[in-house]
Amino acid sequence: MREVAIIGVGLTKFGELWDKSFRQLITEAGTKAILDAGIRGSEIDALYVGSMSPGRFIGQEHVGALVADSSGLTVMHIPATRIESACASGGMALRHAYIAVAAGIHDIVIVGGVEKMTDVVGSEATNILAMAADQEWEAFFGVTFPALYAMIARRHMYEYGTTREQLAMVAVKNHENALLNPNAQFHRKITVEDVINSPPVATPLNLLDCSPISDGAAALVLCPLEKAKEYTDKIVKIAGSGQATDSLALHGREDICTFMSTVRASREAYKQAGIQPKDVDVAEVHDCFTIAEILAIEDLGFVKKGEGGKAVEEGLTARDGEIPVNPSGGLKAKGHPVGATGVAQVAEIVLQLRGEAEKRQIPDARIGLAHNIGGSGASCTVHILEAV
């Protein structure tokens, strides 16, 4: 198996981008990644794109071919594959591109992630996102996606004494981080009181506990590590990659407060990278709801089960904390165009490890982790990156 490097990253702004179409967004991200890597279009061997539900959001399937076409790659007839794994579609696209390069099938591969969510009204977006849950045995009965995470939060509060304030502190931290990210959807400082007083969505979660509906795209360029120095001096390699699943429905699990998919995927990635959770200098984790970040830092092994809320309160995950989490602003404040998210998380880690994260740079970051969740934890990818 070959070692694999990431030699290019590209990001669009995230937000309600009414003037930008699906194809414009992914083409912008892809073009930026290609220019960043300094490769020519003719060098590209394959394309993978993560997108959760273009079929419902814009009425368009077959987006592998669409993305190759809109990026101007049709004349080369390269293989283009769309990967779907709900909100983990982006991380999953990276995972499969990584496997292809590591296996020696392809050399230079583009990974894209994209979602255009604001071409439908809000209630329709709620319906579409609920498709990541079990349609027949959860959604049929009126369960929404926030409701599933709300039930996790309720149980976490019951079992471990996690407080309403601690949940709010996740959103406060991530909004503060997003102030320094020019691509973020929100540039607005919020307080614990703002979160607690925002309208209820599914108790105990309020509007400001939830990531927003967003448009956006992200892209990466992968190549074998041995070829990376031909393109860049600041080489970042994929040191570990893990993927795992769990029951589709939340009720299918013994422990509502643990995502076993995160536990398994991260252990696999740590083992491959030969590191421990404490070795991680910076992490981008899947905070689709405030409770999700608390679960993530526990299941990734940064803190013990049940201590996630306290860790946030004590500043462990702040930008100047022991393990800075979501310096980009996370899904909560950077925005969450679902298919783009997993790719954008890795792009942020690459920038951090290259020392190019500008005002939000974590000093001396050498090892970074990206954690992407699909549904209410039924799918997970974890990638560990290392500055070479």
């Binding site: 209630s123 329709e124 709620t126 319906n127 609920a130 079990d134 349609q135 027949e136 045995w137 959860e138 959604a139 049929f140 009965f141 009126g142 369960v143 929404t144 926030p146 409701a147 709300a150 039930m151 996790i152 309720r154 149980r155 019951y158 309208p199 209820p200 969505v201 599914a202 108790t203 105990p204 979660l205 429905a249 939340l250 009720h251 299918g252 509502i256």
Partner: protein, 142 residues
């Protein structure tokens, strides 16, 4: 949902109307919704999964009050949804009804009741299934 053929809902009637699950005759584990294969016995369980009616009694494991509902449930909000652990050990997701929303607690005893879940508008099909209600309340009524 919308535009689906009725067969999609019709085929789930035994499970949704009468809580019919499956039991693995090899290890005696019970599943709901029904499974074709037991995840523990796998190939040994093929052809040995038999239907079993669940008691419909259980306890609330966790719950939420939904204030922002999907379109088809707009008239119902705010409403409660819970994960309920049934006496047989299996868990289901369902609405909790017939009680004050403030009274719902983790650990509360509930029982299944047959209700209208959603419909396809004025001229479409009506879909029924289970919801759960507190046991105490039901006994108060008698």
């Amino acid at each position: 949902m919308g535009g689906e053929a009725v067969s999609r809902f019709w085929r789930e009637i035994p499970q949704r109307y009468n809580l019919i699950g499956t039991k693995c005759k090899v290890c005696n584990r019970i599943y709901f919704p029904q499974r074709e294969v037991c995840p523990f016995c796998r190939r040994k369980s093929i052809g040995k999964m038999e239907e079993v009616k669940l008691s419909g009694r259980g306890k609330i494991v966790t719950y939420t009050i939904i204030h922002v509902p999907p379109k088809k449930f707009e008239g119902q909000a705010p409403y409660a949804v819970a994960v309920v652990e049934l006496e047989e050990g299996v868990r289901v997701t369902s609405q909790i009804v017939d009680c004050n929303l403030d009274k719902i607690k983790i650990g509360m005893e509930v029982e299944a009741t047959f209700r209208r879940i959603q419909d396809d508008g004025w001229t479409g099909a009506i879909y029924y299934g289970y919801k759960f209600r507190p046991v105490e309340k039901h006994e108060d009524k008698k």
